[in-house]
Amino acid sequence: MPEYASEIRQYITDRFLFGDDEKLGDDDSLLDAGVIDSTGILELINHLEERYGIKVQDEELLPENLDTIANISAFLGKKTA
């Protein structure tokens, strides 16, 4: 799981924070912190699908799966298991 977390953090820092990762904790809500918006979620999902070869179903588009770095890592762990 940690290997996902560091890649996801790097991706989010690059693409959405433009290099600034000072304040982003593993359990911070990406939506509430204003890191990503609804278009950003789609960008993130595209990245996960391409990078990890998974397919995210519409019904999996839930905050429990995608709203924090920890949730995304856990979700990826499940999908790639």
Binding site: D14, G19, D20, D37, I41, E43, D58
Partner: protein, 659 residues
């Protein structure tokens, strides 16, 4: 319309120099290419650049009263001037011109500073009462005409545009104001009174400022009206529709008063189609109309323009605002907006006014204001829907309503779900007084992540929304959702953003005057007494306006889905950020010198955009905001050049400095 400028020195030591005032007037020559005038005495200088529209022969300004003790410069139009003049003549006032400007001088003599209450029009004016040694500035109710001022070393300066204040050479070198930039990266505009520059203020719409030796007095003479439910009209929607049509007819009729031909903008939407139809049907069958076309289908309304023009049998001309032209025009847009902008939508309006000017037309009626007054904006529907959903956030059926708000934008299942979840967050927000706008403002505020460390430090502890909250009228939080949203939209979006960056500035850049009939204050006052639920029924926006136009417009126009006026952002800038017109402004050195943004982060954003074929809405706004801030810095701070004024030929030159 015109440009006005002035200098006031309460000490009266005869220090008002034509050498300071003349460049101010010269800086406004695009607003008034036809005539120039100047008035000077020991306390005051007034300057005027005229675009001749009424009384072409004798209307040069400054204009005076019978005894030469009151002098006035006006930018704008007083539409009810014939009626006011009749009353003033009956009281014995004598006139030497046929202008609306002269009416103001005499009305002031009769009523003092309260004379503004009687005016129906769009105006910014400077009036000098030499016997009381009092300068008075006033601005129309909505801020259709701009007016700025600044003070330095006991001199007070005012002008239609900021560049004219800087041209005086009486102010210290300008610098950008961090709080104003924070406001723009929240609301898309500064708050009323502020500008992007330190020490330069805007006279807020609906205000009068008087200055004399005793000091300054700022008075609000009008505000967006709000009526509590108890005072709603007792009539049927049908008869309200008829009343609206009657008011609009008169508002349009008086806006056609001019000694030059008046054209009309025709976008193909409900608002401008309605005005154009009224003009061609009742007042001028041969009105000339003008519209913008876009190369991308998502933005273009050409089909509807053609249909309306064909039906009205008017001579319609189109200007194609290609992405390349928009990109090319952007630096000039910023020169005229005098503020950072987060959108490219002003650019096509600049291109259109140039096109209109080339055809010899000086005045056009426009549809501005209808969305604000009649409840047309998506943000109104969005906040009503969101409030409805947030009352029962777990109801999947309610949440599906979000999909009906923006069917063109959120198309796939994935997009819809993602948007729905985004909007259904944070139910507690529904209780906030600014609820309607929080999603937009929070999204916009994400651009602040590009601020430099110094900017962040300068802004520590500052909150633009708290600043706004202090300006709200008493009892604001108790108003209904739509009334609150409308007030915010009127105050911020209409007056401060739209009328400036897409209205007056883009038109006057090419010596064209806009006249928006929907912003006749009689219509606004009337609509304040109409129940909110009549304005937007369910998801049907501007219902009463559609009713008013039912016999005037075809159903293909009244029933079409609303198409908000937008211009492409991402596709305009992608691939062009390295172009010659932007390269200097966007260089790392210039970004560092301006000190607003972090060059490192900006570089990453630009690289992301250059590599991608598309970008998110916020990223598009970020690029526009960063580029326009940098262009503002280059044009107004780093390379500002005072206009040459030594060759100006004055049509009016009054010099009373000798006493």
């Amino acid at each position: 319309m015109c440009g006005i400028a002035g200098i006031f020195d309460a000490r009266g030591e005869g220090r008002i120099a034509a050498a300071n005032l003349a460049p101010m007037v010269a800086a406004l020559s695009h607003r008034g290419p036809d005539q120039r005038g100047i008035y000077l005495d020991r306390n005051t200088g007034l300057g005027h650049a005229r675009l001749s529209i009424v009384d072409l022969e004798t209307g040069a300004q400054p204009i005076r009263n019978e005894t030469g003790t009151v002098w006035l410069v006006l930018n704008g139009e007083i539409y009810n001037h014939p009626e006011l003049r009749t009353g003033l003549e009956a009281k014995g006032h004598r006139f030497y011109t046929r202008t609306d400007t002269e009416v103001l001088v005499h009305l002031y003599e009769d009523k003092g500073p309260d004379f503004v209450d009687d005016l129906n029009g769009q105006f910014a004016l400077g009036l000098w009462d030499a016997s009381r040694k009092r300068l008075l500035l006033a601005r129309d109710r909505f801020g259709i005409c701009p007016l700025y001022y600044a003070e330095h070393e006991s001199r007070f300066l005012f002008a239609s545009e900021i560049k004219a204040l800087l041209a005086s050479a009486l102010l210290p070198p300008p610098s950008l104001e961090p709080r104003a930039l924070d406001q723009i990266l929240t609301f898309w505009t500064t708050l009323p009174g502020a500008t992007a520059f330190q020490g330069i203020r805007e006279l807020p719409p609906g205000h009068v400022l008087t200055i004399d030796a005793a000091g300054q007095r700022l008075r609000k003479y009008w505000d967006i009206p709000y009526q509590p439910p108890g005072s709603y009209v007792q009539a049927t929607p049908q008869s309200v529709g008829n009343d609206i049509l009657a008011l609009l007819m008169d508002a349009t009729k008086i806006r056609l008063r001019a000694d030059v031909p008046v054209g009309s903008y025709l976008s193909g939407g409900l608002d401008s189609s309605g005005i154009t139809a009224l003009i061609s049907r009742y007042f001028n069958r041969h009105v000339r109309t003008f519209g913008v076309r876009f190369e991308e289908e998502a933005f273009d309304e050409g089909g509807y323009q053609k249909e309306m023009a064909g039906r009205l049998e008017v001579e319609h001309r189109e200007l194609e605002a290609s992405n390349a032209l928009i990109a090319e025009a952007f630096p000039r847009v910023i020169w005229h907006c005098e503020a950072p902008v987060l959108r490219t939508a002003p650019a096509p309006m600049l291109l259109l006014s140039r096109f209109v000017h080339e055809q010899g037309i000086k005045v056009v009626c426009t549809g501005e204001g209808a969305d604000e007054v009649f409840g047309g904006y998506d943000i109104f529907r969005e906040s009503l829907v969101r409030q409805f959903v947030l009352r029962r956030p777990d109801s999947p059926r309610r949440a599906r309503l979000f999909e009906r708000l923006y069917p063109q934008i959120f198309r796939t299942g994935r997009e819809k779900i993602s948007y729905r979840q985004f909007m259904a967050r944070d139910p507690a927000q529904a209780e906030e007084p600014f609820f309607s706008h929080l999603v937009r403002w929070n999204n916009t505020a994400r651009i602040k992540q590009f601020f430099s460390k110094e900017m962040r430090a300068a802004l520590a502890g500052y909150s633009a929304t708290e600043d706004l909250a202090r300006m709200m009228p008493a009892g604001f939080e108790r108003r209904d959702t739509l009334s609150k949203a409308q007030y915010l939209e009127d105050k911020l979006f209409l007056s401060n953003y739209l009328l400036t960056s897409q209205g007056d500035r883009m038109a006057m850049a090419n010596s064209v005057e806009i006249r928006p009939p929907y912003l006749d204050h009689r219509i606004i006052d009337f609509m304040a007494r109409v129940p909110p639920s009549w304005k937007i029924l369910g998801l049907n926006e501007k219902r009463l306006l559609k009713k008013a136009f039912r016999d005037i417009l075809p159903t293909s126009i009244t029933r079409r889905t609303k198409h908000p006026y937008r211009a492409p952002i991402q596709s305009v800038f992608i691939g062009r950020l390295q172009s010659e017109s932007y390269r200097d402004a966007l260089s790392e050195r210039s970004i560092r010198d301006a000190g607003v943004f972090d060059p490192e982060k900006v570089g990453r954003l630009f690289r992301k955009l250059e590599a991608a074929s598309s970008a998110s809405e916020t990223e598009g706004m970020a690029v526009s905001g960063i580029l326009s801030t940098q262009l503002l810095f280059e044009q107004f701070i780093r390379r500002f050049a005072r206009p040459e004024a030594s060759g100006v030929r004055w049509d009016v030159f009054v010099d009373k400095r000798a006493g």
